[in-house]
């Protein structure tokens, strides 16, 4: 086809298009890749311990009391023992000397002995004042001991029948001074038993067992009566490992890792290659989730090191957790180990 020079449109346009196509092929051959960006999400990091460390508070309470206790309307019949006090029952080489925790449930332990003692104490004096009162034919009319006791009316009928017989021999010797002394003896015991603690009466047990009535009030119970709730605890702490225990725990983990870890050959000398790896432990010592390298570096040697460390953790996976650390799972569930060949392999 001869080119007409008056109309050079077609060849010129064809040439331009070919040039355009070539230029596009060159320019678009490597599309720019997007940089990997993960969307940022505002995250508030809360240590899992914190919610546990907050003593049972009530949102409706007005203020946070310095010595918070859970609200209790009456005294609990059975006091619960907290898991952390399990530690105290075990034979441990170095018992953790912790500052007395302000948590309310630990307190009941000291008051307990007196409580047990209390019912015991009033018992011996009880028969005496009563028998005297009855036997003296209400002459002295010592009614003081009677009214403070809530239960006297009930136990009364059985008591006079049984009890008067054994004490009778003593009765003749009765003199006013002794009586006064006995009354004095019984008195101090009574103030001790405050209106909230019931004095022990074995007959009540039967009655309570037989009664089919429902409790009149489903009150919250506690070791002590506390009518006002506190808004959490300002300085409560959960069970924590003390520094020496922490060291022991770390050593125990490293000990087990030393048998699982074989660092890649040739990078032993690297002083800087100490992957710090964080992993989550279950209470039974098994690793849950993916271990995370905390000090990530891009060098291949470091990667190899970190990979070997990860493998070691997975290989060791059910770690043997020494029994004395079991109650502190909160504190060691996130464990971070620095894989330093000198430290772990010795």
């Amino acid at each position: 086809m001869a080119i007409k020079w008056s109309e050079p449109g077609l060849p010129v346009s064809g040439a331009i298009h070919i040039l355009c196509i070539v230029a596009t092929l060159v320019a678009f051959s490597n599309p720019p890749k997007f940089e990997y960006m993960s969307e940022s999400v505002p995250v508030e990091i809360i240590n899992a311990d914190e919610p546990n460390q907050i003593a049972k508070g009530e949102k409706s309470a007005k203020e946070a009391k310095p010595d918070p206790k859970p609200r209790a309307d009456k005294v609990a019949a059975v006091t619960e023992t907290k898991p952390d006090s399990a530690m105290d029952k075990r034979d441990v080489v170095t018992p953790p000397s912790r500052p007395p925790s302000p948590e309310p449930e630990t307190k009941p332990t000291p008051p307990q002995p007196p409580k047990v003692a209390e019912p015991a104490k009033p018992e011996p004096p009880k028969p005496q004042p009563k028998e005297e009162v009855k036997d003296e034919a209400l002459l002295k009319a010592e009614k003081k001991p009677e009214p403070p006791k809530p239960e006297p009316p009930k136990p009364e009928p059985p008591k006079p029948e049984k009890k008067p017989e054994p004490p009778k021999p003593e009765q003749p010797k009765l003199d006013p001074t002794q009586l006064a002394k006995l009354i004095e003896q019984s008195k101090p015991a009574q103030p001790k038993s405050d209106p909230n603690t019931k004095p022990f009466n074995p007959n009540d047990i039967k009655k309570m067992l037989e009664s089919k009535e429902k409790p009149a009030m489903a009150a919250s119970t506690g070791a002590e009566v506390n009518k006002t709730a506190s808004l959490g605890a300002p300085n409560a702490t959960g069970p924590k490992l003390n520094p020496s225990q922490k060291g022991q725990f770390g050593d125990a983990i490293k000990d087990q890792l030393s048998q699982c870890w074989s660092p890649p050959a040739g990078v032993m000398d690297g002083h800087t290659l100490k992957p710090m790896i964080k992993f989550n432990l279950q209470p039974d010592g098994s690793v849950v989730g993916q271990p995370v390298v905390m000090n990530d570096q891009s060098s291949p040697a470091f990667r190899a090191m970190a990979d070997s460390a990860m493998r070691a953790i997975r290989k060791c996976s059910p770690f043997k957790i020494p029994a004395q650390f079991a109650p502190f799972h909160n504190d060691w569930k996130d464990t971070t180990v620095i894989f330093d060949p000198k430290d772990i392999l010795g």
Binding site: S6, P8, G9, S13, F28, P31
Partner: protein
């Protein structure tokens, strides 16, 4: 480890699939046809633009020259003799056509002067019509390309997206790396359509305006020339 290799391989092929050529080559047959058609129409459109632009420029220059000569007082006979072989612009063509008619009527018999003015007007009209047609030829192609090629490109895109959605349904994988190449291919058709359409629309408007301007110029000249000729005719009739 094997799994990561497979994934890496898939990513490699996915990233290499984005070059323009593979984009074209992997497209569906219909989309390919659309792309090729649009590319051809773009080539044609540009060839028309170039030809017309050159033609109008030439036309304008030679019209300027013709007008200069025509109004310089040079003998019309001489001018006619110079141009009668090959009139090089619309104005010259009009002039030559009118002179032909004049010569045939006046010189041969000398009798046919009575309706000469009407005949001259007709001849001028026809010549102007023909010349304007010549100037405006192929501009309709530009108009067609400008209005139709976006739709053709859109058709290719819709077809391509339809196909890629069918592939998604078949492979049951909706990850963006799988979906993206098909949609990029499809959109490429629209891109080519717009690439062809935009210059066509702009050039059509510009060239249409240019053609209208030249037509007006030729018509103006034709009116003036027919005025001159009719004066001559009237003088002749008065002389006889």
């Amino acid at each position: 480890m094997n799994g990561t290799e497979v994934v890496a391989g898939a990513l490699q092929t996915a990233s290499s699939e984005i070059s323009i050529w593979t984009m074209f080559w992997n497209a569906h047959f219909v989309v390919k046809l659309v792309m090729l058609g649009l590319l051809a129409s773009s080539v044609w459109c540009w060839s028309i633009i170039i030809d017309k632009e050159l033609l109008f420029r030439r036309e304008r220059r030679s019209m300027d020259r013709f007008e200069e000569v025509f109004w310089s007082g040079q003998s019309l006979e001489e001018l006619y003799r110079a141009l009668s072989e090959r009139p090089n612009n619309a104005m010259a063509a009009v002039f030559v056509a009118a002179m032909n008619e004049w010569k045939r009527s006046v010189e041969n018999s000398g009798r046919a002067v009575t309706n000469l003015t009407q005949r001259l007007d007709k001849v001028l009209d026809v010549t102007i019509q023909r010349e304007v047609e010549r100037l405006e030829s192929k501009l309709l192609v530009l108009a067609t390309i400008g209005s139709a090629s976006p739709f053709i490109g859109l058709f290719g895109t819709v077809w391509g997206i339809m196909n890629s959605f069918r592939s998604i349904a078949a492979s049951k994988n909706t990850s963006l790396a799988v979906v993206a190449p098909g949609i990029a291919e499809a959109l490429f058709a629209t891109a080519i359509g717009l690439f062809a359409a935009i210059p066509a629309v702009i050039a059509y408007n510009k060239l249409q305006a240019e053609a209208a301007k030249q037509q007006a110029r030729v018509e103006g000249f034709a009116d003036e020339f027919s005025a001159i000729l009719s004066r001559q005719i009237d003088e002749r009739i008065a002389a006889e």
